[in-house]
């Protein structure tokens, strides 16, 4: 397996602001890689460096085996890009913008273009100034997806799309993966990343804080358990990997590390379980633990989180 994108120790500053602070990112050819982080964490800056629109201050950056700054034009024939904030020329129609961007990139598949326009329900005859945010995003998506680029770089491509269109988008990303194309998908919508991505990198304050497969990352998350028991549960708080225990008569609620789920449930059975519900581990929870507090970047699954940690 070869590497499509390799970034190591990337630093980018704007005046006094350190937008990227030693970021690492490794994307293998053929995978859909989720690039997650909250607003302002440096996702778009990283992508603009990858496209040669910004120059790295330091660090090693390689895109499809080339230098994204020096070899920009040659590399861009093999890359399609959807910006996070799609701005189009007000007096040019959506159809014209799609054709223009496709031709500048090196040609687009006409049949595919028509199919995408239909699936995304986009009127190509409207001038761009009358498009909504979602429709502008569709223009950029149709242009990118109807190209034969081997690498798709998508910066929050679905933030303006409705759920129906989001589903269409997901179909096309799965199709791209089936064709062996590589996708770098920046997002803060975790459900989307969970649905599509093979690998995920989470960044914060311009640094990579977690990276791995969905399964590996899920491993770091906790399951949330609520149980009604015959007798009030005691001694749960002293078990390893159990957090935020809340008991109320015969009902108990707690979070447990995935590694210690077995032990905790065994402990519960000794009090006679009458009902048991568990919320599966989600990326969201991992995400909130990384961003909802001021923990250092090298957080591991075993660290405690104060109950009711700020979420916004």
């Amino acid at each position: 397996m070869s590497t499509a994108i390799s970034v190591a120790g990337l630093v980018k500053t704007f005046g006094a602001t350190r937008a990227l602070d030693g970021l690492d990112l490794e994307v293998t050819t053929g995978e859909v890689h989720g690039f997650l982080g909250p607003n302002g964490s440096g996702k778009s800056t990283t992508i603009r460096v990858l496209l040669g629109l910004l120059r790295a201050d330091s660090g090693a950056v390689s895109l499809l085996g080339g230098d994204p700054w020096r070899d920009a034009v040659a590399l861009h024939r093999r890359v399609a890009y959807v910006p996070g904030d799609v701005t189009l020329w007000p007096q040019i129609t959506g159809g014209e913008a799609i054709d223009l961007l496709g031709r500048l990139q090196g040609g687009l598949n006409r049949a595919r273009r028509e199919e995408l326009l239909e699936r995304f329900d986009l009127d190509p005859r409207k001038k761009a100034r009358s498009y909504s945010k979602g429709n502008r995003q569709k223009v950029a998506l149709v242009a990118a997806l109807s190209s034969d680029a081997e690498l798709l770089i998508l910066d929050e491509p679905t933030s303006g799309l409705d759920p129906l269109m989001e589903a269409v988008f997901q179909d096309y990303i799965r199709e791209a993966r089936a064709q062996g194309r590589t996708v770098l998908l920046s997002s803060h919508i975790l459900a989307e990343a969970e649905a599509l991505c093979d690998q995920i990198s989470i960044i914060r304050h311009g640094r990579t804080v977690q990276s791995g497969t969905l399964t590996e990352l899920r491993h770091l998350t906790r399951t949330s358990i609520t149980a009604d028991t015959d007798r009030p549960v005691t001694g749960l708080g002293s078990l390893p990997g159990v957090y935020d225990v809340l008991s109320e008569n015969h009902r108990v609620h707690f979070d447990v590390d995935s590694d210690h789920l077995d032990g905790a449930v065994r402990h519960l059975t000794t009090f006679g379980i009458r009902s048991l519900s568990s919320a599966p581990p989600t990326l969201e929870e991992l995400f909130l633990r990384h961003y909802g507090d001021e923990l250092p970047p090298e957080v591991t699954g075993g660290e405690a989180v104060p109950a009711g940690a700020p979420q916004s």
Partner: protein
């Protein structure tokens, strides 16, 4: 919860009229804050031009003889009348100041009013900011009226500043403030005109284009009216403003006409606003092409598509201006023949020499306009970049140099086209008047002499885009302002030679009086190439910057 509480507290008896204006005061204060640098710059520029002119004229025409000679030369020069205004009050130095400068400061006032109203109405609406503002407790008419109030305040401030500075340089106070009032009144009418046009178009760019065109039309109407001394001047708001005749008649009636015209225009704008949706103009968007034409498949194709409207508009305007200039050249001869005073003072002046001098002046004015176009066209690249529209193009297999070159090529060829178009129409009018077909080539070549100088000004904008993108727009227009001010004042105010030498226009021989020479063209060519190289290298080295 807050919303409910506020709603309950709001007086239930507010009339619909009051609601339509709700929030106007807040928006006025907000607009004044946004424009706290821009408006003082416009106002000080206008007032300073009057002050410079006052100081210059007082030095120049310090004796009654000098003033009489001036009066004689102006009375016989249609070019000066076409550019300046009605030749009245020339028996005092103060009157000469008003005659020479008022048209330029009215232009400043009109531009200030146009950009102020446009920025706070159509530009905000286009960017979606008005939608956000209107979603708050802000009435339908409030953003428009706030923009009009801010522009009107700026016009009043310009009028007062002009009056103060003119008085401070030694002109009679009453006339100074009448001069200020006539300038402010001109700006006021363009406040109203822009308010109407902003309702009709759907983009700020189109608003500025149409208002600019209207200014040109009104300027030509008053020029023709002033030369022939007829009622045509009353068809033009610029004519109204200048009919105040400061320092001589000090007439109030034209000021009232300007005020009434402004009120009527604003009323029309409000009525139009009531009949359209937020975000749209009066004309609905027609569906466009579902596919891009073959022309739209390269960076130059895109740049041409983006710039063609403005290029066509400028070319047609300059061709018409050249036509008017060429036609007026005949009046220069007629006026001289009729003017005994002038022939007495300038026995050595022949009508042919006067026509040559007149044509040289008009060609240099065309060169200044072509330079302004060149800069605006180059800056289109920066606008594209700042709006984030360069990103998707440069993320394709399009190199930075190719992308920048696509706009620069249009700027250089386009400004050449403007010189050629205005030169050709002037030359054709002269051929028609003199019957000498050889005149065409001679005058056409003379008009093109300015090409290297025009390119040099545009090339400064390219260099700025490469080196200092965020300062490029302000910096490039500052260079244009410098070139214009030097062309207007350097000789009259006897400024040191280096001031004129620093302007590319100053390097160019005054064709057709002086012939084309190699040295300045080579020097300017080298400057153009150097500035372009600096710009392109800088642009390839730096980050793209949006916003």
């Amino acid at each position: 919860m807050t919303t409910v509480a506020e709603r309950a507290a709001a007086p239930p008896t507010t009339t619909p009229r009051g609601l339509a204006l709700a929030g106007t005061g807040t928006l006025v204060r907000f607009a004044l804050r946004r424009d706290r640098i821009r408006l003082p710059v416009w106002i000080l520029t206008g007032a300073a031009m009057v002050a410079f002119q006052s100081l210059g004229s007082q030095t120049f025409y310090d004796t009654p003889q000098a003033l009489a000679a001036y009066r004689a030369s102006v009375g016989s020069n249609a070019a000066t009348i076409a550019l300046a205004g009605p030749p009245v009050g020339l028996d005092t130095v103060a009157g000469a100041v008003a005659f020479e400068i008022s048209a330029f400061v009215i232009l400043i006032a009109a531009l200030m009013a146009m950009f102020t109203v446009g920025r706070h109405t159509r530009a905000d609406e286009e960017a979606g900011r008005t939608e956000l503002v209107r979603s708050a407790r802000v009435g339908r008419h409030a953003p428009l009226l706030a923009a009009v109030i801010v522009a009107a305040l700026a016009c009043v401030a310009l009028a007062l500043a002009t009056g103060l500075w003119a008085t401070a340089t030694g002109l009679p106070a009453a006339g100074s403030f009448m001069l200020g009032a006539s300038i402010g009144a001109g700006g006021l009418v363009f406040t109203g005109i822009t308010a109407v046009v902003a309702q009709v178009t759907s983009t700020a760019r189109a608003t500025y284009g149409i208002v600019g065109l209207l200014f040109g039309v009104f300027f030509v109407l008053r020029a023709v009216g002033d030369i022939n001394g007829n009622l045509l001047v009353w068809t033009s708001p610029i004519g109204w403003a200048q009919a105040v005749h400061p320092f001589s008649d000090d007439r109030w009636a034209p000021l009232l006409l300007c005020a009434a015209g402004t009120v009527a225009l604003v009323a029309v704008a409000v009525a139009l606003l009531d009949h359209r949706d937020l975000g749209s103009g009066m004309l609905a968007d027609r569906p466009g092409a579902p596919h891009a034409s073959r022309g739209l498949s390269s960076p130059i194709g895109l740049a041409l598509r983006l710039q063609r409207g403005s290029l066509i508009g400028w070319t047609v305007s300059l061709a018409l201006l050249g036509l008017v200039y060429g036609g007026l050249a005949e009046s220069v001869e007629t006026l001289l023949a009729d003017n005994e005073e002038a022939t007495a003072f300038f026995p050595e002046i022949t009508s042919a020499g006067l026509v040559e001098g007149y044509l040289a002046t008009t060609f240099s004015i065309n060169a200044l306009l072509a330079a302004a176009y060149g800069v605006s066209s180059v800056l289109r690249a920066r606008t594209e970049e700042a709006a984030g529209r360069a990103d998707p193009v440069l993320a394709t297999a399009t190199g930075r140099a190719t992308w920048l070159a696509s706009h620069v090529v249009i700027a250089l060829l386009g400004s050449f086209l403007l010189l050629a178009a205005s030169g050709a129409t002037t030359a054709a009018m002269r051929v028609a008047a003199t019957g000498d077909a050889d005149e065409f080539g001679r005058l056409f070549d003379a008009a093109l002499t300015y090409a290297p100088a025009v390119w040099a000004v545009a090339a400064v904008a390219v260099a700025l885009i490469g080196l200092a993108p965020r300062a490029a727009v302000a910096g490039a227009w500052a260079v244009v302002a410098y070139v214009v001010i030097v062309a207007m004042f350097a000789r009259a105010l006897d400024w040191p030679d280096w001031v004129d030498d620093a302007s590319p226009i100053g390097w160019t021989p005054s064709a057709p009086i002086d012939g084309w020479t190699l040295a300045p063209a080579v020097g300017l060519g080298a400057a153009v190439l150097t500035l372009l190289a600096v710009g392109f290298v800088g642009f390839r080295q730096r980050d793209l910057t949006t916003g």
